[in-house]
Every structure is written in structure tokens, then in C-alpha cells.
Amino acid sequence: MAKVKGAIVVDIEKCKGCEVCVGACPTEVIGMAKEVNGKGYHYAQMANPDACIGCANCAIVCPDGVITVYRAKQIA
């Protein structure tokens, strides 16, 4: 059986650190960076990348549309 594996790319400079994506992720992938971006926001990042299933939930709720989602099949 093929297992899906996902990844997200956050446009860090445009992320506003609202944390809406965090709660939307079913697999608790996302955490907020300790660092701030140029606008002073703690941006979102994959804190737990392995758990990402590429469901795009985070991207769909991100108000600033800064998440791009990828998904590949892991041939087990």
C-alpha cells in the first residue's frame, strides 16, 4: 500500500503568525517559529514534518494564502 506524505512551504515573509493553520492541521504538523519575520511576526513552520499528509487543510484556511502544499506517494 502506498502511504501519502505531504509537505508545506510557508511564504515566511508574508505569514502573519495568526496561528489559524495550526488548529486546522489534523496531524499537528504546524508550529510557530521562535524567530520573527521582517514584519515582526512569528511565522508558521512544519514543527513535525513527518506527520504531514498533504491534506491542504492549513493552506485552505490560511487567510493570507501563504501556504503551498505538496503531496507524494511513499511507495512502501
Binding site: 502573519k16 520573527v36 521582517g38 514584519k39 515582526g40
Partner: protein
Amino acid sequence: MTEEIIIAGFGGQGVLSMGKILAYSGIMQDQEVSWMPSYGPEMRGGTANVTVILSDDRISSPILNEYDTAILLNQQSMDKFEATVKKGGTLLYDPNGIIKHPSRKDINIYQVEGAEEAAKMESTKTFNMIVLGAYLKLKPIVIMENVIKGLKKSLPSRHHHLVPLNEKAITRGMEVVKTIQTV
């Protein structure tokens, strides 16, 4: 005496109320004062700034293009206002979050670790008072007694119990201000 100040930073840093306390302190010692904020959506989420003028004479324009003192509390403010300090004037800033430190050679530059000290005092709300203290150390344009009066005037009375804490913060600011360069 006329002192023309710009205070600029993030919205939540208490920039406007710091200016207000300063202005009120001026009133307490019978000075003319003006306080002019940036306003409207430009404030939203972004930066806030306020121009404060204290003077012994009638104040003409409350909006200025250059200042005796700039108090700058984030990078954006630094980018925008470093250049507006008068030659020989004063720039005070909190280095926290600053990537590009001020580079002018013709002004006096000071640092205050406001955020750090506020964290130490376990009250982020004291941040702006620490900065105010630092400023007053550099420019004692109003005496402490009047600052306290100004503080009381600008705080709703249900918050007057916070005055001692704020006073402590001001004092702390006076202690921790660091000279980077004088001209």
C-alpha cells in the same frame, strides 16, 4: 525650551500612551504641549507613531519633519525615522528585533533594553515606562513628580494602583539606558 519628539513602534507597545504621559507631565509643569498620532488604517496591525511637543511657548505646527529626539521601537520605525533626527539630536532605541542598527554619525545614540527589562519585571505592560524612564534620563525635561501626576491623569482611576509599578519601571529605565555614541 522646546522639545520635539517622535515615538514610533508596533501598535501594541504603548507608544501612544507613552506620548500621552509625557504630554500630561508637560501640562503639570505649565508647559504647552501637543500630541499628534498617525491615524487611520495605516495603524492597523502595523506601526504606530506619535509626535509629542513640549514647549514654553505656543506651539505652531503639531506635525514635524524633523525632531530633537526619536524613540524608535522596531525596525520599520528605525528605517523610517532615523533620518529625521535633527543634527546633534537624540536617537533612543530598543535593540530587540533590530537588524539594522542606526548608522548616523551626527546624532547622539542610546539604547534601552526595554523588552528585556520588562520581562524581568514580569510585566510586559511596563515596557513603555522603562523606555520613558530611559528618555527622561537623557532629557530631564519634566521632573519625576510631574511625570507621576501626568501618569495619574492619563490613567483611569481604577488603574491608579499601577502607578507605583510604573514608577519603578521609569526608574529602571533611567538606570539601564546605555550610551552608544554622543556627538
